[in-house]
Amino acid sequence: MAKNEIDDVSGVETTGHEWDGIKELNNPLPRWWLWTFYACIIWAIGYVIYYPAIPLIEGSTMGISGVTNRSLLHEELTRVEASKASLVSRIDSTGLEDIRGNEELFRFAVAGGSSLYKVNCSQCHGSGAQGAPGYPNLNDDDWLWGGDLDSIYLTIKHGVRNVDDDDARQSEMPAFGDDVLEPVQIADVTQYVLQLSSQEHDATAAKSGAAIFAENCAVCHGDDGKGGREFGAPNLADALSLYGNTADTIATQIAKPKHGVMPAWGLKLTEAEVKQLTVYVHSLGGGEQAATQ
């Protein structure tokens, strides 16, 4: 190979390239740059051997480490589960009242219950537990089956009127529209129920309704209409109604009552999860103290 021309001014060899009389000098790359470059190549080879790297038609080469983002995520989740394990087992072995009384367990239960709620419960009860017609509001102090920790726990664990759990809470209001009461009787009872919850009503109709109520409804809803939690019979004398408290909705509910169903979460969630949900729902503002024995 012919020796390239040496530049007169700088004394540096030229590459032999020339454009419009300008010659390119053959100055070497800085050595530090070159060594960094070589180091990167060596690093890249090591990387390809160690990590999944080369894409194939399906998947990629796995490298000797087999470390993927998926496996890292799996490891991290396992680590999180492990870090929670002691708290979860304490929740398992601690009574609901004691969980509420222990700051650490209470915080853990409420935080865990809150996320469990969003995944499992919010579909019916609403993202803020505010409920909807037919789906109870969990924030208020009106409870169909009881609002102390144990009652909430049983409701969540076994559910309501489902066929999967033999211990599910069961109750059924008869359809009084099916040949039990005459339409006019239903209208009178409706007026009486409006009177119970201090709403505008027809006093005469309510008076005859009161007699019908005592005969047909008081068994479950009580003489004063305040309901009975052992049957899940709603309190009719308060400001809240599950299916609405207008004359229309009340009459419909008397004639052809709707019955909500709630799954037995004890079949799907772990014991600790049910307990966490219980403490969370209880903390929403309407939680009651257990009746003292």
Binding site: E103, R107, A239
Partner: protein, 519 residues
């Protein structure tokens, strides 16, 4: 070359002198000679103080009670606190750190505009550690000439022993330096024990490793190259210096013409400057420059050449200060004096020292020059930021309350028709003592307040305990009977009162009711 004075002349060449420098040149090793004199003494003191501060600070204790660490200076990353003696800074008070950094910047401007690159010459860690490493080098290998000889000598066992010992001690210093750093971030005694027994976190070992390597490479191997090539400050200083800033200056108005044969020259009737060209200033320079070339980027103004030259001047019975701290303005006046006022005329040293001593007309640095419009502005800014930060520090509250109104649902109707609103109250206790607070409602007549918390279940005495240095999150339910609701929205406030100190914070919030109520 023999000299006719009794001054030792050094065969020293300024390896970084401008005429020696090419754009691409391998580094030539510098062998700074040990200097002695007032500036060297000052530098020993500053070195002892700065190194002392760095190594000892993490071991100082400061009692903060049982709820906070007792390390005087601690950057607690895990719980996000910065402790500095009686001050503890929370993350939201980071502006103190930002403000101090601004002050440090302004302080650097102030120092540079008055006394030049004093930071570089005396207190920069690079300078201090290079000085320390040079002490070690001198201890094992001797002073300048011995080191030059050793460099050139073949690898004998004696050389290997000297070199190895030097590098081992350097590495020990480097590890100690990196080691001291991590003690600022954790309890020092505990961390030291964990570190030695191999129980410390990986990041501790990694940090020590990286910092030790940096110390060893920067202080032992790279030295002046760090200042010349890596540090931005020499570039910035050009904009910081003015004609009243002190720089290390070779006063050529009295030094030139330099000669090693003064007697011969005087006998020949030639004019002779004070400089005997002994190269003492070049031999001591850690940056490898010749200060007689004038002020230059490489000069860190360590003033060792002043010490070296003053020693020589004393020996030959001349006034000290041939090389001195001087401003450009005094230098120019003296130069005008030396050239007889004629620009371009040669220097006539006899004009500045008519009777062998410096003339009265020679200008010296006047400390009053430190106060100038520019430095005054720096001082005002510096002082204003400092006072501002101090005021903020003294006035800051140690209690912070944040209340968030529930968005979903915004209100809840209860069975008796009353309306309840939910709130998330965050109480931040920034004291290192546990405190208990009483929460009351302000401006919402007839409302009842219920707090939700593990220790509040049984009613309690209505107070809320917040641990030392902690944030407590508590749910609050405010209920108002339907008759008491005056409007769809009512503004009111939570009043949080410390039960012992009466420290009070109010947080303004809003009570919401369904439309149709209260109208």
């Amino acid at each position: 070359m023999a000299s006719d004075t009794n001054v030792e002349t050094f065969d020293a060449e300024a390896v970084n002198a401008q005429h020696n420098r090419e754009l691409y040149a391998a580094r030539q090793k510098i062998h700074p000679k040990r200097a002695s004199g007032s500036f060297r003494s000052l530098k020993w003191v500053i070195m002892a103080v700065t190194l002392g501060i760095y190594y000892i600070t993490p071991w100082l204790r400061w009692d903060r009670g049982e709820f906070a660490p007792d390390q005087a200076v601690l950057i607690d990353m895990a719980s996000r606190r910065f402790y500095f003696f009686f001050i503890d800074i929370w993350p939201h008070e980071f502006f103190f750190v930002a403000g101090m950094l601004v002050m440090a910047g302004i302080g650097l401007f102030l120092v540079t505009s008055t006394v030049g690159r004093a930071w570089c010459g005396y207190t920069c860690p690079q300078t201090v550690w290079v000085d320390l490493f040079l002490v070690v080098e001198r201890f094992f290998e001797g002073d300048r000439n011995a080191r030059i000889k050793l460099d050139a000598a073949p690898w004998t066992s004696a050389k290997i022993v000297k070199r190895t010992s030097k590098h081992v001690v350097w590495l020990l210093i480097a590890v100690a330096t990196g080691g001291a750093w991590i003690f600022y971030f954790a309890d020092a005694p505990t961390l030291l024990k964990d570190f030695v027994t191999g129980n410390a976190a990986f990041v501790a070992y990694a940090t020590v490793g990286v910092l030790a390597a940096m110390t060893y490479v920067f202080g032992g191997l790279m030295r002046e190259q760090v200042c010349t090539y890596m540090c931005p400050w020499p570039r910035i200083q050009a904009a910081m210096l003015d004609e009243h800033s002190l720089t290390v200056t070779y006063n050529d108005w009295r030094g030139e013409p330099r000669t090693r044969h003064a007697k011969k020259a005087i006998a020949a009737g030639e004019s002779v400057g004070d400089c005997v060209d002994c190269n003492a200033c070049v031999a001591v320079c850690p940056m490898g420059i010749d200060i007689r070339d004038g002020q230059q980027l490489e000069c860190i103004t360590c003033a060792l050449c002043i010490d070296a030259c003053d020693g020589v001047m004393e020996k030959i019975g001349r006034d000290k200060g041939l090389i001195s701290y001087a401003t450009l303005s005094t230098y120019n006046q003296n130069m005008a004096l030396a050239t007889g006022g004629a620009p371009g005329a040669g220097i006539q040293p006899q004009l500045v020292r008519p009777e062998g001593k410096l003339a009265a007309a020679v200008q010296h640095f006047n400390w009053r020059n430190v106060i100038r419009v520019r430095t005054a502005i720096y001082m005002v800014i510096y002082g204003a930021i400092g006072l501002g930060l101090l005021t903020a520090l003294l006035m800051r509250s140690h209690l912070d309350v944040n209340v968030l109104h529930d968005r979903n649902p915004r209100f809840v109707q209860l069975s008796d028709g009353s309306i309840r609103n939910g709130y998330q109250i965050k109480i931040l206790n920034m004291r290192t003592q546990p405190r208990s607070f009483r929460i009351t409602l302000d401006g919402l007549d007839g409302a009842t307040l219920k707090l939700e918390g593990s220790d509040l279940v049984q009613g309690g005495n209505g107070t809320l305990d917040v641990k030392a240095n902690q944030l407590r999150n508590v749910r609050a339910f405010v209920t108002l009977s339907r008759e008491a609701i005056a409007a769809k929205t009512t503004d009111f406030a939570f009043r949080v009162v410390d039960t012992t100190s009466a420290d009070t914070v109010t947080a303004n919030v809003r009570f919401e009711a369904p439309s149709g109520t209260g109208q």
